[in-house]
């Protein structure tokens, strides 16, 4: 009896498990089928859109170039205190010599210069000049020093065999990489370039003697001996040589900049995009004369809000009119509202240029009508006014359509009921009709605002200098200044701002209340 009950319970439990499994299986089939339907688009968007954008946005914090091009310098600067007004020691100069010698061959010296120039204007020329300047630096003592130890140091083949010992490569990694780089560039072999010897000299100073001695390789003895005799190279002064190329190498700011922007991830671009920079004691604001982006961000926000408001003021009555027409006529008018979409955005913007410019149609017309004097023609383009007028016109349909679709669903009986209850037409509109169009106002405003805040072409064409948006700065950094990191940082901030606004909007209005159609 007891076993019977237990068996029955068990079989019931099994049944319910089976049932759930069956349900899951049937649901999974549905999910797979649904996924298959959207798969082509999803894959297309992932590959062509989301990944590139994510990669682009990652550039706002990515900063590999400095540590890639100047690895020895970065390592050497670790012991240097940037708050100190002293210059780094000779070893750092030797490191940067080795780094730059390779960089010049790879033509990467200007790239790292450009990168550092974003943070400290003027550095770029320093890194450009080294290409010629470094040929004048006499580093024969380094070559001779190792050749005197053993003639094998002239033979890249021999060195390569020695460095194939992993222990040695681990002990002197920069020298190993320098040798490897040289051998790739010079497959015919021979005597390596000076940077290998400079690199060896720098690295040997701090290498552990005991570990060097433990290596079971012919080179070990030589290296130990070299380490002992290194002080003989003390007379070589690369610091002075660099100062001779450019006096700026003697300014601690340069080294501070290198050290501060040496990590592979940086907040530098993001700080830059809110007019800040890294200081000795954390982030600090730039000088007033260097501030730019906060102002443009605020201008973008204010102008987008103005455009949204203008679209609402112009679009609401139109949507109301459309919603109260018989269906067939409403559709006809709706086509008129959508008509601008059939022309290119560029054409529409150019049309505004023709209309608004000082010698343009509107000014001419007002002069003919003697509203304004010929000498007092209004400046209506290449400023904020022009941008607001043109963008309001272009974005208006995005306001009208959601408003229309919401208004269409509001039965006339509400306003009638309000009137029959004693409300005047105005009160009925204000207290009954208007609140019910909030969903449309919200949808239209969010749509127009988000479109406006990232708009590029129209402000570029009619905005002049005062009426441009943050997107124009982003485009400038992408295509002209080639500071992609900053462009990505600005874009990330814009993206973040839109997300924040969306969140705020959701909290206040509720995104569920938004109706687009």
């Amino acid at each position: 009896m007891v076993t019977d009950t237990a068996n029955r319970l068990r079989s019931q439990a099994e049944d319910s498990v089976n049932l759930r499994r069956k349900l899951n299986r049937s649901l999974r089939m549905q999910k797979v089928r649904a996924l298959l339907l959207i798969a082509p688009l999803l894959i297309f968007i992932l590959i062509s859109f989301l990944f590139p954008i994510a990669d682009m946005l990652f550039r706002s914090v990515e900063n590999k170039i400095v540590s890639q091009v100047l690895p020895r310098t970065v390592a050497s600067l670790q012991s240097w205190d940037p708050a100190n007004s002293d210059l780094p020691n000779e070893a750092t100069f030797r490191s940067i010599y080795a780094d730059l010698a390779i960089a010049v061959e790879q033509r990467r010296n200007t790239r790292v210069g450009t990168r550092l120039n974003y943070e400290s204007p003027g550095i770029a020329s320093l890194f450009r000049k080294v290409k010629r300047g470094m040929t004048k630096i006499d580093v024969s003592s380094f070559i001779n020093f190792f050749n005197d130890l053993d003639s094998n140091f002239r033979d890249s083949e021999w060195l390569a065999r020695e460095f194939s010992e992993p222990e040695l490569a681990k002990l002197l990694p920069f020298s190993a990489s320098a040798l490897e780089y040289w051998r790739v560039e010079n497959p015919e072999g021979g005597q390596p370039d000076s940077y290998l010897y400079v690199s060896l000299a720098v690295e040997l100073i701090s290498a552990s003697k005991a570990e060097l001695g433990e290596l079971e390789r012919p080179i070990a003895d030589f290296l130990v001996k070299a380490q002992e005799q290194l002080p003989r190279l003390d007379h070589v002064n690369l610091r002075d040589a660099f100062l001779e190329i450019d006096r700026k190498w003697g300014e601690p700011t340069v080294w501070r900049t290198i050290k501060m922007y040496s990590s592979t991830l940086t907040t530098g671009y993001l700080l830059n995009s809110i007019d800040m920079k890294k200081g000795l004691d954390g982030p600090e604001f730039r000088d007033d004369s260097e501030r730019l982006y906060i102002k443009i961000f605020i201008r973008t926000l204010v102008m987008s809000l103005t455009i949204t408001l203008c679209s609402l003021l112009l679009g609401y009555p139109v949507a109301y009119f459309l919603a109260h027409q018989p269906l067939r006529r409403a559709n006809l008018y709706l086509i008129l509202v959508l008509l601008p979409f059939w022309t290119s955005l560029l054409v529409r913007t150019s049309a505004w240029k023709v209309l608004l410019q000082q010698e343009g149609v509107i000014n001419d017309f007002m002069v003919v009508l003697r509203i304004i004097d010929d000498s007092g023609r209004l400046i209506m383009i290449n400023n904020q006014f022009g941008t607001i007028v043109a963008m309001t016109h272009i974005l208006l349909p995005f306001m009208i359509l959601p408003l229309f679709s919401v208004m269409k669903t509001i039965p006339e009986s509400y306003v009638r009921a309000a009137k029959s209850l004693g409300a005047s037409s105005w009160t009925a509109f204000r207290r009954i009709y208007f609140p019910q169009t909030m969903a449309g106002i919200g949808a239209g405003s969010v749509l127009v605002f988000i479109l406006a805040i990232g708009y590029y072409i129209t402000p570029e064409l009619v905005g002049g200098t005062k009426g441009t948006f943050i997107s124009n700065r982003i485009a400038y950094h992408i295509s002209s200044s080639l500071n992609w990191g900053l462009a990505a940082a600005l874009a990330s901030l814009l993206f973040g701002a839109v997300l924040v606004l969306y969140w705020v909007y959701d909290r206040i209005v509720g995104i569920d209340n938004v109706k687009l159609g």
Partner: protein
């Protein structure tokens, strides 16, 4: 309740309405509604009844004629100054307001003080047994509850006249019947004048003091429910109100109170002449299904008898519905009470049925 055409509380005088300038939706409407009366405008859709209501409410203007309320012409008064309460077909409760706010709305726009307003809102809610629902939103209520709130809102500012535009159309049958009685009782209690529009004849008969039957832009008959049902003045009313059996024929003889009609099947029946032309013209003889007796023996003296053949017998619980072929009409319906001694007929039986001449009316063809 006789209403003097000159003293009615609401008066339509020669009102016409056209929307497109071609077709008259309302043709020369003359109607007088007494104070405190419950008048129903009944008719099929497109008959002009709703247009009349909208003109009275002020949402449509009369193309011609005059509408007077309490002796004053209202054609030029905007709807919000007419002080007429209205209940809409879909209730038109403001979805963004709570129940209390909906009810307070007509008081707010009249600048009623807060205490008085709250008291009136509470009273109105209690009146429709919806106390405690103040803070709900209309969409959280059932159809019947929304209906009550709409009713309360139309009454809360104590109008003298309340218009109702098919207010029960969206409710299910049981609830509708229940609400019919509630509205009727509210009307009796408050004494307001109600103009009620419906296409449901049962609703009209149940609730109204008088019913105006609309068709084709005209009032076909204006009478109390019993009068309307038992003494329809033309065949449209006879057909539209309740069920009716019609037999076509030609007038043979015509006197003041009796018309002899030769039916198309050859039989001669006498009927009350209501809407007939002259001897020799076609007429439509109408008999209510429940006034026909299936059992010849139960007929009182003076009754007509006529041969019939049973086509179909339908058991409907409280009544039996028998379809017969009478004088060529295969859709002659007879309703009989489900009493223990009631005969249950089977198709194919040939019987004699009969009715009293005064239950039989000769109407227009």
């Amino acid at each position: 309740m006789p209403i003097d055409a000159n003293t009615g509380f609401v008066r339509f005088e020669g009102v016409q309405k056209t929307y497109d300038g071609k077709v008259l939706v309302v043709k020369d409407l003359n109607l007088s509604i007494g104070k405190g009366e419950f008048l129903t405008m009944l008719g099929p859709s497109g008959s002009g009844k709703t247009t009349c209501l909208l003109m009275l409410a002020g949402f449509e203007t009369a193309t011609h004629g005059e509408i007077l309320v309490d002796g004053k012409p209202i054609n030029n008064i905007p709807p919000h100054k007419r002080g007429i309460g209205m209940v809409f077909q879909n209730y038109a409760l403001f979805p963004h307001m709570t129940v209390a706010e909906n009810l307070a709305f007509p008081l707010d726009v009249r600048s009623v003080g807060r205490d008085e307003r709250d008291a009136k809102v509470k009273r109105a809610l209690d009146m429709v047994q919806m106390g405690g629902f103040e803070s709900r939103r209309p969409l959280q209520l059932s159809g019947g509850q929304q209906q009550r709130i709409a009713l309360a809102r139309a009454l809360v500012f104590e109008p003298d006249l309340v218009l109702m535009d098919e207010p029960l159309g969206a409710l299910d049958k049981q609830l509708r019947e229940h609400m019919q009685f509630e509205i009727k009782h509210l009307h009796e209690r408050l004494g307001v004048t109600v103009v009620y529009v419906t296409h449901d004849q049962t609703e009209a008969l149940t609730m109204s003091d008088r019913v105006a039957v609309f068709d084709d832009g005209r009032i076909q008959q204006l009478a109390a429910p019993d009068h309307l049902y038992e003494m329809p003045e033309n065949s449209f009313v006879a057909q539209f109100i309740g069920e009716n059996n019609t037999l076509m024929g030609i007038v043979e003889e015509l006197s003041e109170d009796v018309a002899s009609v030769r039916l198309d099947g050859g039989e001669i029946v006498s009927a009350v002449p209501v809407n007939v032309g002259a001897v020799g013209e076609r007429t439509r003889v109408s008999v209510r299904p429940e006034r026909v007796e299936l059992d010849e023996r139960k007929l009182p003296s003076g009754a007509h008898t006529i041969a019939a053949e049973v086509q179909e017998f339908i058991y409907m619980g409280d009544i039996f519905r028998t379809r017969l072929k009478v004088a060529g009409n295969e859709d002659f319906i007879v309703k009989s009470r489900n009493a223990s001694n009631q005969t249950r007929l089977s198709p194919g039986e040939k019987i004699k049925i009969g009715w009293l001449p005064e239950d039989c009316r000769a109407l227009d063809a």
